[in-house]
Amino acid sequence: MKRRAFLALLVASAAWADEPAPRVIPISARKFEFSPAELELKLGEPVVLELTTEDVHMGFDAPALGLHADILPGRVARVPFTPDKPGSFEFACDVFCGSGHEEMSGVIKVRS
C-alpha cells in the first residue's frame, strides 16, 4: 500500500511540473498605502500575490474576488488566485492601522 501511495505521489508531482508556474506579484503595504496599488491581470492567468508589510499588521481584502489575507510584520502572506471574470475590483486594508487607514486601498484590473 505504501508503495502505491508513493507512486501516486510521483504521478501527481509530474502533473504539477507540467503546469506553468504562476506569476508572483509582490505587494508591499505600509501606512497608508499599498505598492503597487493598481494591478493589471489577465483573465485566466494564475498568479500568487505575495503580501508583506513594512510596519504594522495590515489586511488585504478584495471581497468581490473572495480574497483576504492578514499581513503580519516579518511574514509573507501568499494569496494564489486565477482571475475568472474581467473588470475592476477594489481591495482595501481591513485592519485599522492609523489615521490614514480609510484611504488605504487599491484596484485589481482584470483584462479579457
Binding site: 499588521h57 481584502d61 482595501a92 481591513d94 485599522f96 492601522c97 492609523g98 489615521s99 480609510e102 486601498s105
Partner: protein, 232 residues
C-alpha cells in the same frame, strides 16, 4: 458636539437614557492626544442634562491601542444592562483592529443570551454593522455572522449601530439593524462613490447629513425619530 448636547438638552421630553455608538474622538496615532480628546469629549457630554449615558468605542477611539485609553475613561467596552423590561447588550467589535468580536466575547454573549427567554426583548448596541453591509469600505464585522447566529433564536432582537455615519436600515431574517446619522463627518451611501471619504463639507449647509435619533420602545415596537444636530 456642543451643539448636539444643546439640541438633546432642549428636547421637550428628555430620554430615559442616551447611547453613543462609538467614534467619540477622531483618530490619532499619539496616545497622549487620544487621552486628551477622550477627556475633552467626556467634559462636553457631562453637560447633558440626562445623566444616564452609555458609551461604546468606535475604531477611531480604540483600534490603535485595543481600547486601553477608552477604558481608562469609560470602563468596559462590552457589557449588559436592563431598562424597563428590555435587555441591552453592548458588543465591542473595534478593540480588535481587524474588526472582530472575538471568540471570548462571543462566548460571553452566548452565555448572556442563554439566560434570556426566547421571547424577551433584546437590543444589541455595537459600532460596526454585524452584517456585511459593504466590506469594500470595511463596513462589516469579520465574525459578525456568529453574533447574528447567536441572536437568531431570539424573536425580539434588534441591533443599533454606528460606524457608517448615516441612516440605514437592514434586516437579517427577523433581526433589524439600524444605523443613525453621526454628529460630524457624514459618509456617502455604501458604494455610491469610488473612494470612501466623508461627504464634502458645504458651508451653505454646514449641518447637512448630521443628526441624532430618538427611539421610543412601545409594545414591542421601536419608533425611530431623526433629529438634526442643531435646532432649526
Amino acid at each position: 458636539m456642543k451643539k448636539a448636547v444643546a439640541a438633546v438638552n432642549s428636547l421637550n421630553e428628555p430620554p430615559d437614557f442616551i447611547v453613543f455608538t462609538g467614534d467619540l474622538t477622531h483618530t490619532t496615532d499619539d496616545p497622549k492626544e487620544r487621552r486628551r480628546r477622550l477627556a475633552q469629549f467626556k467634559e462636553i457630554v457631562s453637560e447633558l442634562k440626562v445623566k444616564d449615558v452609555r458609551f461604546m468605542p468606535g475604531e477611531h477611539d480604540a483600534s490603535l491601542d485595543r481600547g486601553e485609553a477608552y477604558q481608562e475613561f469609560f470602563g468596559k467596552t462590552h457589557y449588559t444592562f436592563d431598562h424597563k423590561g428590555v435587555h441591552f447588550i453592548a458588543l465591542d467589535n473595534v478593540s480588535d483592529p481587524a474588526g472582530r468580536i472575538g471568540d471570548e466575547q462571543l462566548a460571553w454573549l452566548a452565555a448572556d443570551l442563554a439566560k434570556q427567554p426566547r421571547d424577551s426583548r433584546i437590543v444589541v448596541l455595537t459600532h460596526r454593522p454585524l452584517f456585511p453591509l459593504y466590506p469594500q469600505w470595511d463596513w462589516a464585522t469579520r465574525d459578525g455572522d456568529k453574533a447574528i447566529e447567536l441572536l437568531m433564536p431570539h424573536r425580539n432582537a434588534t441591533v443599533f449601530y454606528g460606524h457608517i455615519h448615516q441612516e440605514h436600515h437592514f434586516k437579517t431574517a427577523h433581526i433589524e439593524h439600524h444605523a443613525a446619522k453621526s454628529l460630524i463627518f457624514p459618509q456617502p451611501a455604501p458604494g455610491s462613490v469610488p473612494k470612501r471619504a466623508p461627504v464634502a463639507w458645504d458651508p451653505a449647509q454646514p449641518y447637512r447629513g448630521l443628526g441624532f435619533r430618538q427611539i421610543e420602545a412601545e409594545r414591542g415596537e421601536y419608533k425611530l425619530t431623526e433629529f438634526p444636530v442643531v435646532r432649526v
